[in-house]
């Protein structure tokens, strides 16, 4: 009979192990994307009923997720992980960036958040100012 019964101890251990393993598998297969908002799929109307939407295939979803990864900084605006280069790609000029960040910028690969910390600024204020420039 024992072999058909599972001790609660094993259930607790297996719960944590399987949960962690599934997340690890997600990371290995590229599905673990924790940045960038989801954007409506092509063909979806994102705000109304979906009666006329395109058929969504698995390939479609994977392609969309790849696009989101590539375009996340373009679609989302400035986030905690955005670099100076991301901001330039979003259409903000170097002069504007240097003005908001109160000083010269030598390296475009540096994170905006790191510059903010170095210069004693408030990230929330800088983020809002840069996002306003993107919107303009």
């Amino acid at each position: 009979m024992r072999k058909f019964k599972l001790s609660p101890v094993y259930i607790s251990l297996l719960t944590v192990v399987i949960f962690a393993a599934a997340i690890f598998a997600g990371m290995q297969t590229g599905w673990w994307i924790t940045e960038g908002r989801g954007t409506p799929l092509a063909g979806s109307k994102g705000g109304g009923h979906g009666g006329e939407s395109e058929e969504v295939t698995e390939e479609h979803i994977v392609n969309e997720i790849d696009e989101i990864t590539e375009e996340e900084h373009e679609t989302e605006g400035i986030a905690g992980s955005s670099t100076v280069q991301n901001a330039l790609d979003m259409g903000i000029t170097m002069e504007e960036l240097e003005q908001v960040l109160e000083g010269a910028i030598e390296d475009t690969s540096v994170k905006i958040q790191d510059l903010v910390s170095e210069r004693g600024l408030k990230f929330g204020v800088v983020k809002d100012a840069l996002n306003a420039l993107i919107d303009d």
């Binding site: 009979m1 259930i11 719960t15 673990w32 924790t34 954007t39 989101i68 958040q113 408030k122 990230f123």
Partner: protein, 278 residues
Amino acid sequence: MKSKHLRLISQIAFFAFIAIIAVNHSLTEIGRGLGFVPELSLHAICPFGGVATLASLIMGQGLIRQLHASVMVIGSAVLLLTLIFGPVFCSHICPLGSIQEWIGKLGKKIFKNRYNKLIPQKLHNILKYLRYVVLVLVLVQTYRTATLMFANVDPYYALFNFWTGEATIAAISILVVTLIMSLFVERPWCKYACPYGGLLGLVSKISLFKIRRNEATCVSCGLCDRKCPMLIDVSKKKKVTDTLCNRCMQCTYEEGGCPVDRACYNGILNAKQQEEAK
């Protein structure tokens, strides 16, 4: 080590992890993020977001605007666990379930035998279906708007965002009411309102492992019924298929719920099938 200790460790670890992620997210916003903690938004690790996203994708509405692709991974992990063991996410991982349970321990000390008996069984049997009304409303709203409207009333979101200004007054109020009610009723949100718990409960109907009772060895003492925080009559069933069962194991012999070894257990086959399989 007893599994209830392991379960508690798991609950504390996940609660602390989510709390640290939420605090770090706020600190990052003001440029003071903790370098050693990954910078994640709660929207990136919400398992219910995985369900809403999947539903939205199936219905051709695309990814939900606030959410991230990682929710599909978490949602799938929870689904896999539920298919094997039942809703162990609720008993081992979910921080909102954990905090209700911990407050309930205080309530048990204060109200002793009256704890968890506030709502009459007949009313409870009706109210427990409210979760499915909420689930349908959430899915319909998500479909109509392609945004996670549920976050506006979600006490889980409020629990880890009440200091940020992002949580709505409605969500914070629901959280406060839930936490106060937890003093009298075990896991009130889980029992009567949580759409995700309701969904996991439905999936658990086909889970591999279930709580089972061996009629041949059961002495009908009813202890399993009294131990069950979700008010399930375990002693009247051969196997527990109630969608409220979250596999907390408190009714089993190993956890001190049943006085007879192998009368109330968590297994794949029932006692008769096991005899035949020998």
